[in-house]
């Protein structure tokens, strides 16, 4: 019995048609998380905080949620790149990706997007935390830099509006890119379909909402009764619903197409290790639990930090499992 379970788990992670392993799932998760957090950062700063007069001294950087995005977006993109490069069979040749391009390759387009994203994100963050940055530069930098710095910041500041829209656009594309990367693979019917980018976009956004909320209310002490926190809290349900809808659409499509697509769908959710992950982890823990918690918990209890921690942990682990599930179960069945 125990060897039976061991074998089935072994088989779930090692099979002939498997090319991309676990680190790619982690890479896609972190990328989605970063893109989701960046989208929220722009929306919060541009529309939500000013609307509710929450910006002290006109500084969005004081807001706990914004601070959370400022950690999550850059940190997870950096980590994801390290993981991606680690996963190459020749990690030291990664620079070739920046030198050579192929416009028919989704991955190559992703590399361009990632570079643009890093630059735009860094510039926009610098503007957002300008006050803090001013102090840092003043304290630690040599005179030459101190002299150039204000002029540089002034010219960057002229483009603040453009940078904001650009960041929003790139973050949305990056969220979808994580899905397009796998959807390109004609080999695997479960992956090779147009719903996957949509699913990954919504689940990335969902992880962004949960991650920013979690870090915001715990580490950065965002007030639970603040209008911005309230707004983010209210966003959770529709985003999770969209994610669930996309997941349902994906499998409906596979069954509708029939043939190998149906075989792939059945192999993924109709029994075995990955179907357990799907039904218990993704559907049960990641989608239904947060939805139920939101709907049936009394209002006072929902205002507790512990409630937020529980809820966001559920959806974050759901999204992480979704990435592993799609990657592994997706590669199980070939045309």
């Amino acid at each position: 019995m125990s060897t039976g379970i061991f074998d089935s788990v072994q088989h779930a992670f090692h099979f002939d048609s498997l090319v991309w392993h676990g680190p790619i799932a982690l890479y896609l998760f972190l990328l989605g998380l970063s893109a989701g957090a960046a989208m929220l950062a722009v929306v919060l700063k541009r529309w939500i905080l000013p609307r509710n007069n929450e910006t002290l001294n006109n500084r969005a950087s004081e807001n706990g949620l914004i601070r959370a995005t400022a950690i999550i977006a850059p940190a997870s993109i950096l980590l994801s790149l390290v993981i991606l490069i680690q996963h190459l069979t020749m990690p030291l040749t990664f620079w070739r990706l920046i030198i050579y391009y192929n416009f028919t390759s989704v991955m190559s387009i992703g590399v361009m997007l990632l570079q643009l994203y890093s630059v735009v994100l860094a510039l926009w963050m610098a503007l957002l935390f300008r006050h803090e940055l001013d102090q840092l530069i003043d304290r630690w930098m040599p005179g030459r830099i101190k002299n150039i710095y204000p002029r540089v910041m002034q010219s960057v500041a002229k483009f603040e509006n453009t940078l904001e829209w650009l960041l929003l656009g790139i973050a949305i594309s990056l969220g979808a890119y994580t899905g397009f990367l796998l959807a390109e693979l004609k080999t695997y019917p479960l992956l090779n379909n147009p719903i996957l980018p949509l699913l990954f976009f919504f689940s990335g956004l969902s992880s962004g909402v949960a991650g920013v909320m979690l870090l915001g209310v715990t580490v950065f002490k965002a007030r639970l009764d603040a209008a911005s926190t309230h707004w983010l809290h209210k966003l959770e349900r529709p985003v999770i619903l969209c994610e669930a809808l996309a997941l349902a659409a994906l499998f409906s499509l596979l069954f509708y197409i029939g043939g190998r697509s149906e075989v792939a769908a059945l192999a993924a959710i109709g029994g075995g290790f990955w179907s357990g992950v799907f039904w218990l982890g993704i559907v049960g823990l990641g989608l239904l639990t947060p939805l139920m918690l939101q709907t049936f918990t009394p209002a006072e209890a929902r205002q507790r930090v512990s409630f937020v921690v529980l809820l966001t942990s559920c959806s974050l682990s759901g999204v992480l499992m979704l990435r592993y599930f799609i990657l592994y179960a997706g590669q199980m069945t070939v045309y």
Partner: protein
């Protein structure tokens, strides 16, 4: 020369036959100029001796544990001792519309316009394995010594470069493998394709594979 192969075959045939063009099976290829190398595996002649596999390994220095070419034996058809087997060649199909080339982020996987051969340039490769995952025929592997993807390249840098036939083709004792220029209507492979019922693997995926097969008379016809 600015005449497509289709037109070329059509006019050539028109000269020879005069009429009845519509009945001639024409194989379309993206290549307009130059050669379009292709291969034919005659499964009705194949005896499954795997001499081709050994020859490929030897000529192209393919390490043990990986292979550019496999001959896959079917389930037995009929009862022992009268059981029959058919044999399926698993190797790069040199697709005219190769997914491996389309997805490669650095252009390391490429299709040589002169010959139609799909090959890998290790000097551009980063080892992301996107091409390995994208090949619907699952013929790519990571070369354990080079650390880059490898697969059949029609002996482009070995036998073909020396003006010889691919190793697997010359090794075959029953001449079940035919290699040649599908753009040349007079070549043996074009003749075979024009006169015999051939099939190709996974055509609905739109890859336009250039590995043709003649089905064994036994058993179900593979797709």
């Amino acid at each position: 020369m600015s005449c497509s192969r289709r037109k070329f075959i059509a006019s050539g045939c028109a000269l020879v036959l005069g009429t009845g063009l519509a009945n001639i099976p024409l194989v379309q290829s993206m290549t307009i100029n130059g050669k379009r190398y292709a291969m034919l595996h005659d499964e009705s002649k194949c005896i499954g001796c795997t001499a081709c596999m050994d020859a490929c390994r030897e000529t192209n220095l393919v390490p043990e544990g990986v292979s550019r070419l496999e001959i896959i034996r079917s389930e037995p058809q009929g009862e022992y001792p009268d059981a029959n087997y058919s044999f399926f060649r698993k190797s790069c199909q040199h697709c005219d519309n190769p997914p491996c080339v389309e997805v490669c982020p650095s252009g390391a996987s490429f299709r040589d316009e002169e010959t139609g051969i799909v090959d890998v340039n290790p000097d551009k490769c980063v080892g992301c394995q996107y091409c390995v995952a994208a090949c619907p025929y699952q013929v790519r592997f990571i070369h354990p010594e080079k650390n880059t993807p490898d697969k059949c390249n029609f002996c482009r840098d070995t036998n073909l470069a020396q003006g010889k036939l691919p190793a697997c083709v010359s090794a075959c004792p029953t001449q079940a493998l035919i290699f040649g220029d599908a753009n040349d209507p007079a070549s043996a492979i074009s003749q075979q394709i024009a006169t015999k019922p051939t099939y190709r693997n996974k055509v609905p995926l739109g890859t336009d594979p250039q590995l043709f097969r003649i089905a064994d008379r036994n058993g179900d016809l593979p797709s």
